[in-house]
């Protein structure tokens, strides 16, 4: 059997795999809100600050939102 069949099968399998991933991600609602995650990732990981730290990072750049 020619190698082209193997290559085609592999490339098709990869393509279809990504296609299924796309369908699944749409179905799970990942694309319903395409805005909030972009803001959420900018929040500080450490949410609770100790009192001494509180003073230090008083003025932080506001995250600009476009509505």
């Amino acid at each position: 059997m020619s190698v082209i069949y193997v290559l085609l099968a592999i490339s098709l399998a990869v393509a279809v795999l990504f296609f299924i991933a796309f369908i699944v991600s749409v179905k799970s609602g990942q694309y319903d809100d395409d805005y909030t995650p972009s803001v959420r990732m900018l929040f500080e990981d450490e949410l609770i600050k100790t009192p001494s730290e509180k003073k230090k990072c008083k003025q932080k750049e506001a995250i600009q939102l476009n509505e």
Partner: protein, 800 residues
């Protein structure tokens, strides 16, 4: 009292009346200070670092959510409940910045019973998972209210579950794009080796696997034909059945011909077929649809009274007990308790207490009206001052306001009444294409019959009006976004086409052409002395009546005078005595002027030292630029004003507006609707501009219904477009821009016709190679898209 221009650390409003200092920061009121305390005590002060002055003053009225104590109602509200753990999705209108997202997603810092919370910013909703045995829904809502994020829970939330989100267009687009890309790859060998076939030698490798590649392309095209392109067949079939040649007929014809011809080609090994063009065509068409489908998910264009009415009310039983009753269960004769800030759900009569009813939802009138024992009150009014008891005279669905929704105009979809530009061109186009195809086929039958079928299908393929079908979605979709940036939010792209055809504009008066944010008052009567004005100002300070507050803000500063005696006669006025004399402020009767001529307007009467002095007459300020807007519009269309109020303002309006403007007063909601229906019967394309629920019928009946809104997040009746009140003066510019957008669509039709003519030349002469179709079709689509995008952006720049 000294003036202070500090801005509240929490909500950002100027603290000009009283500033509360706390923790070295200014606060405008106790409520804002409390929120700050709660947040800083719980290590949530990062809220203020993220975005300054992002908060809202908490206005929650604890009794208002008593109905959440009822398990049946909670059951209807929550998305999921297993007894302990509940999930609820709440609409919070105040969500507007990153601080909002952050604090709502950290609710569990305030109460550990909250397990998870996730904000959907565009929709302004938050989904909260919480432990209901530790924190019942009612307490959760109160918790949110206390930090200024009161959710909006209305009758619409317990309606039969909303239709699930429709994501089918994304699937269709995804499949078409996936297939398009793969078919393109599989076609590449054929593009580069055009003349290769088994007989003439050529590339051995290609010839060996040609059929495999072709059948793979066929396989990829199948889901595109059967699933992605299905809507075009359905729409064309529907159009044909109702004897209408819409644009989808030639599209469906083109797609079908492409598919059948390509399949036949590969079966008989006549050529590689047009699968690349087929999948590309459908992909581009769907892309246009997707682009046009921009929605403002935080706005709702479908709201009816249910979005504003409460779910439950407090019913007083004959034995004096109170119970929570669902709004729909309220019957004639029931006694209800309406607390401060609660909505009256049905027409009723006041039986106890004094009503200050705010009808701004209904009429747009911002000034509350006074109602006493025995007076009628109407559904949709909001009680502002203390609790009242009312007796229901009509059930919810038959009330003055709500029965409007029984009208059939609310059932029909506006788009079905209107033929779009694209569809109207579709008819001529189909006829032209079919005749060219038949003439060309007839010619070839005579000349070289082998080629006849080839030419016939080639014409249908190349004439497929892909670029025409893309012109409107991209122009209108882009225009929709430009308008959105200018605070003019459209329900869908079709509104622009309808707006361009308007030849009659009808306006509501109160709240639409008048503003509710600033009121002016002028004084009529004997001038007040310095001392009297000083007493008046000091007296008003002690009163909570909305008119007193408004008047207080308007009077100039005076020294503080000690008030020796102060009495408030509810429903009549206030009385105070000071060392400078005594004063009475209130109704005409109360101040000793029984024969007041000005009973058609809102007025505050004054009498000092038992002698009637005069009155402050309140009137609404007309919006900025109203004279200019009406002047400009009057050159292009007929104008009319339909007001639900009495004719008190008639003279002033006649002075302000062009003479041709028709003025009608005392119009009931249903009158407005019928007025528009009549105008449409006379052949007018009507635009209605309104703001309250009483305009809802007219907005639905009009060809374009525009709701004016001071705060787009809070309130707007069902409509086609929402215009931010600050942009009212741009109204004419927006209509002009819509007309230009339609002009652009027409120009793009010519552009795509030009490509069609080139393509038809190849088709008719029988030389249409797949590769030519594969170049020509995307090229025409892309140039149309580029042209419309550039042109609409130019229009947008002109809007400034």
């Amino acid at each position: 009292m000294e003036m202070n221009t500090d801005h509240c650390y929490h909500c950002g409003t100027p603290c000009d009346k009283t500033t509360i200092e706390f923790d070295g920061k200014p606060f405008c009121c106790q409520g804002c200070k409390t929120v700050y305390e709660i947040l800083s005590e719980n290590d949530l002060s990062y809220y203020y670092d993220l975005q300054g002055q992002a908060g809202a003053t908490p206005k929650i009225n604890e009794g208002k959510y008593d109905f959440l104590g009822s398990p049946e109602i909670v059951e209807q509200l929550v998305e999921f409940s297993d007894g302990n753990v509940q999930v609820v999705n709440l609409f919070v209108p105040h969500i507007h910045c990153s601080s909002c997202i952050w604090v709502l997603e950290n609710l569990n810092k305030l109460n550990p019973a909250v397990k998870a919370s996730q904000v959907d910013f565009p929709k302004k909703t938050v989904r909260i998972t919480y432990n209901a045995s530790e924190l019942p829904l009612k307490n959760l809502v109160l918790l949110m209210g206390r930090i200024g994020y009161e959710p909006n829970i209305s009758l619409a939330d317990i309606e039969p579950k909303k239709k699930p989100v429709n994501r089918s267009l994304i699937y269709k687009l995804g499949i078409a794009g996936f297939a398009f890309g793969n078919v393109m790859f599989l076609s590449f060998p054929e593009y580069f080796d055009l003349s290769s076939n088994r007989e003439s030698g050529g590339e051995f490798w290609l010839n060996e696997y040609q059929n495999l590649f072709r059948w793979l392309m066929f396989l990829f095209s199948l889901p595109v034909m059967l699933y992605s392109g299905r809507d075009y067949f359905v729409s064309a079939f529907k159009g044909l059945r109702s004897k209408m040649l819409n644009i989808d007929v030639p599209i469906a014809l083109g797609i079908l011909t492409l598919f059948l011809r390509s399949t036949v080609d590969i079966i008989f090994d006549w050529g590689p077929g047009f699968f690349d063009s087929l999948t590309g065509l459908i992909f581009f068409l769907l892309l246009g649809k997707f682009f046009q489908q921009k929605t403002y998910s935080f706005l709702s264009f479908e709201r009816d009274y249910k979005s504003y009415f409460p779910i439950a009310v407090t019913r007083i039983l004959p034995d004096g007990r109170e119970e929570v009753a669902q709004v729909y269960e309220v019957k004639r004769g029931d006694r209800l308790l309406i607390r401060n800030e609660e909505l009256i759900p049905a027409d009723a009569v006041i039986v106890k207490g004094n009503g200050h009813i705010d009808y701004s939802f209904v009429t747009g009138e911002a000034e509350p009206v006074l109602r006493q024992n025995g007076d009628k009150v109407f559904a949709g009014g909001k009680q502002l001052n203390g609790a009242i008891e009312i007796e229901i005279t009509k059930p919810v669905s038959q009330s003055y306001l709500t029965q409007l929704w029984g009208n059939s105009v609310f059932d029909e979809e506006k788009t079905t009444r209107f033929q779009t530009l694209t569809d109207s061109i579709g008819k001529r186009f189909t006829v032209a294409v079919l005749s060219i195809a038949f003439v060309a086929a007839a010619f070839w039958l005579y000349y070289d019959s082998k080629n006849a079928l080839n030419v016939f299908t080639a014409v249908l393929i190349i004439a497929c009006p892909c670029a025409i079908a893309l012109a409107a979605p991209f122009t209108l979709g882009n225009m929709l976004r430009i308008f959105g940036r200018k605070k003019f939010y459209l329900k869908n792209a079709g509104v622009i086409e309808r707006l361009a055809q308007i030849d009659m504009a009808i306006f509501d008066k109160t709240g639409t052409i008048t503003t509710s944010s600033t009121t002016t008052a002028f004084y009529e009567g004997m001038p007040l002395t310095e001392a009297e004005e000083s007493v008046l100002k000091n007296t008003l300070r002690s009163s909570n009546h909305p008119l007193s507050r408004a008047l207080y803000d308007m009077l100039s500063e005076h020294n503080i005078v000690t008030i020796d005696d102060f009495t408030e006669h509810t429903g009549q006025g206030i009385e105070a005595s000071t060392e400078l004399g005594n004063i009475k402020v209130g109704s005409a009767e109360f101040t000793g002027n029984g024969a007041s001529a000005r009973d058609d307007s809102t007025a505050v009467h004054i009498s000092a030292n038992d002698a009637y002095k005069g009155c402050y007459v309140f009137r609404n300020e007309y919006r900025d630029g109203i004279v200019e807007v009406f002047e400009e519009l009057s050159h292009k269309m007929k104008l009319a004003i339909l007001s639900g109020d009495n004719s008190g303002e008639k003279q002033r309006l006649q002075e302000l507006l062009p003479i041709s403007t028709l003025l009608y007063f005392d119009q009931k909601p249903i009158d407005k609707l019928h007025f528009i229906k009549r105008a449409q019967g006379e052949g007018h394309k009507v635009m209605m501009v309104g703001d309250g629920l009483n305009d809802a019928g007219a907005l639905a009946q009009a060809d374009v219904g525009i709701a004016i809104s001071e705060d787009i997040n809070v309130f707007s009746p069902a409509c086609d477009a929402i215009l931010d009140a600050s942009k009212f003066k741009e109204l004419f510019a927006y209509i002009k821009a819509s007309k230009r957008a339609v002009g652009i669509i027409k120009l793009s039709f010519f552009l795509s016709l030009f490509y069609n003519v080139i393509g038809l030349f190849f088709a008719v002469t029988g030389q249409l190679e797949p590769v030519i179709a594969a170049i020509l079709m995307p090229l025409s689509s892309i140039s149309v898209v580029a042209f419309t995008t550039v042109a609409t952006n130019l229009i947008g720049r002109k809007l400034g």
